[in-house]
């Protein structure tokens, strides 16, 4: 989640005598929390899909209107006698056979009726109890890691220094968007800072999506719903909370997809190294500004 992370970090000796500058971009706590987050996010996502498979329908409101789900992933008998997977969103029916609604488990001759396919769920073979065991354990890892991260961003100055965009940067959103779409990535000293789209994406994830997914998840807990005489009504009711939890999970997955894409196109090994060892090799400065002082 933390691509560029360097403003005002103390200088460390460059690790290689290359023409381009190596510099220390990610501090140890951020690196450790990043990888804990990666692992717990995917375990939460996959076990969450396993939980969803137990009742592959979403509703809006206090309880379940079984006749009118917002979304369902089910199967109907196919021509070949195998279940045929369909996904329904409102009144629209999509043929999602083979992936959503019905799919073949590894080594099986026939398709099984299941919302998400076995390669996407924990456990692979549908079992709600195991999915819940994993989800509710890694929820603690995920949330404690998240709390530690937010505390770190606040107290280390990471939030103010790196995450909050400056006014001038906000005015440059259109230019930054154009650069991203054209795959023009900042070089030289500009690559030491998060760009403004990164700022906004990270802030949206850290302070909107992640709190939402946690709060919506807790809103499904019958014991916690006893707090304040039914606070889950703020989210529209328990079934709305379940739907929001699901939607937020897929927004996070979309973020991860874009994030990984950007990591790859801006230099997979360089980026990976910086999130493992902390050191990042600055890309060549396209504008050849001539500044070659040791940074920062």
């Amino acid at each position: 989640m933390h691509l560029f992370h360097v403003r005002a970090l103390p200088a460390r000796p460059a690790a290689a005598a290359s023409g381009r500058r190596l510099f220390y971009r990610h501090r140890l706590p951020v690196r450790v929390m990043h990888w804990i987050n990666v692992i717990s996010f995917f375990l939460m996502l996959m076990s969450g899909l396993g939980i969803f498979n137990a009742h592959p329908r979403l509703y809006w409101g206090l309880d379940s209107d079984f006749d009118a789900p917002l979304l369902s992933m089910t199967a109907r008998p196919g021509a070949d006698g195998q279940p045929h997977g369909i996904t329904q969103v409102g009144n629209h029916v999509f043929d999602t056979d083979g992936v959503l609604g019905a799919s073949r488990e590894e080594g099986a001759a026939r398709q099984t009726e299941r919302a998400f396919p076995s390669w996407a769920t924990i456990p692979g073979r549908q079992y709600l109890a195991t999915a819940r065991n994993w989800h509710l354990f890694f929820a603690w890892v995920f949330v404690l890691n998240g709390i530690a991260y937010v505390a770190y961003t606040l107290f280390s100055g990471h939030l103010r220094r790196d995450l909050l965009p400056r006014k001038a940067e906000l005015r440059g959103i259109a230019g930054s968007l154009r650069d991203h779409l054209l795959f023009r990535h900042p070089g030289g000293d500009a690559a030491k800072r998060y760009n403004v789209l990164q700022n906004l994406a990270y802030l949206g994830v850290i302070f909107v999506l992640l709190p939402l997914i946690v709060i919506a998840g807790l809103g499904m807990s019958p014991r916690l719903d006893a707090l304040f005489g039914g606070w889950v009504g703020i989210l529209g009711g328990r079934q709305s909370a379940r739907t929001l939890h699901f939607v937020a999970a897929f927004c996070l997955l979309a973020f991860v997809a874009v994030h990984v894409f950007e990591v790859i196109v801006t230099g997979l090994w360089n980026n990976l190294r910086s999130m493992v060892t902390g050191y990042y090799r600055l890309p060549a400065d396209e504008h050849a500004s001539g500044h070659s002082e040791r940074v920062p």
Partner: protein, 255 residues
Amino acid sequence: MISRRRFLRLAAGSALPAALASCDRLAGSDAFNGMLRQAQFLSQRAQALLTGPGAMAQEFSEDEVADEFRSNGTAMPDSRLYRQLLAGQFGAWRLQVGGLVARPAQYSLAELQAMPSRTQITRHDCVEGWSVIGKWTGVPLAQVLSRVQPLPAARYLVFHCADPMDGPDAAGSAYYESIDLAEARHPQTILAYALNDEPLPVKNGAPLRLRVERQLGYKQAKYLMRIDAVERLENIRGGKGGYWEDLGYEWYAGI
């Protein structure tokens, strides 16, 4: 010669399927899942701390009651004894209350209905994810406990049900559940004999079912036959405190 970059790429390419395969192996391990399941006690403590012991489950209004209260699990116990009791309109049915209590007792349905009652409109949350709102009337479990008087050693109540889970009249497979005494004495914990102002339907647990409103659906044991006060759960059936708990579900179903 294989380049370092190509080697790393191969390693990363084979790492993902390998990681997924080892996840799946771990997910098939009872010992590993059992370890993960211990997080339930952290959740239980955190939630009790946050909400306080007496927090009341949300109650709803009449017009939010669902037209049909979905039945899940057993809809008709496959038991000769139960069919006989049903045929006699539960006139011969008795709720046995025993174990670690000072005064073991048995109650007919009429006797339970003569005790002080509580009516509550609450949301039933199935572990699968769906919810349905219903109106329950029953006797607070605290009323029954004050009559039988649990001994100081008693820590849990175990609910034994009429529905065999392993086929017709399968011995030793009847549904069972358990809660701790604090949950048992909560004002919304009732033994319900009516749903939506009608006698409890068979598919919803006639003649009597447990309502523990701050926990998930599998705690709401149907077709109650016997309640035992016990000190520990380990030596009962699978040892985990309930039919579904013995199959891997969390005993603490508040989340």
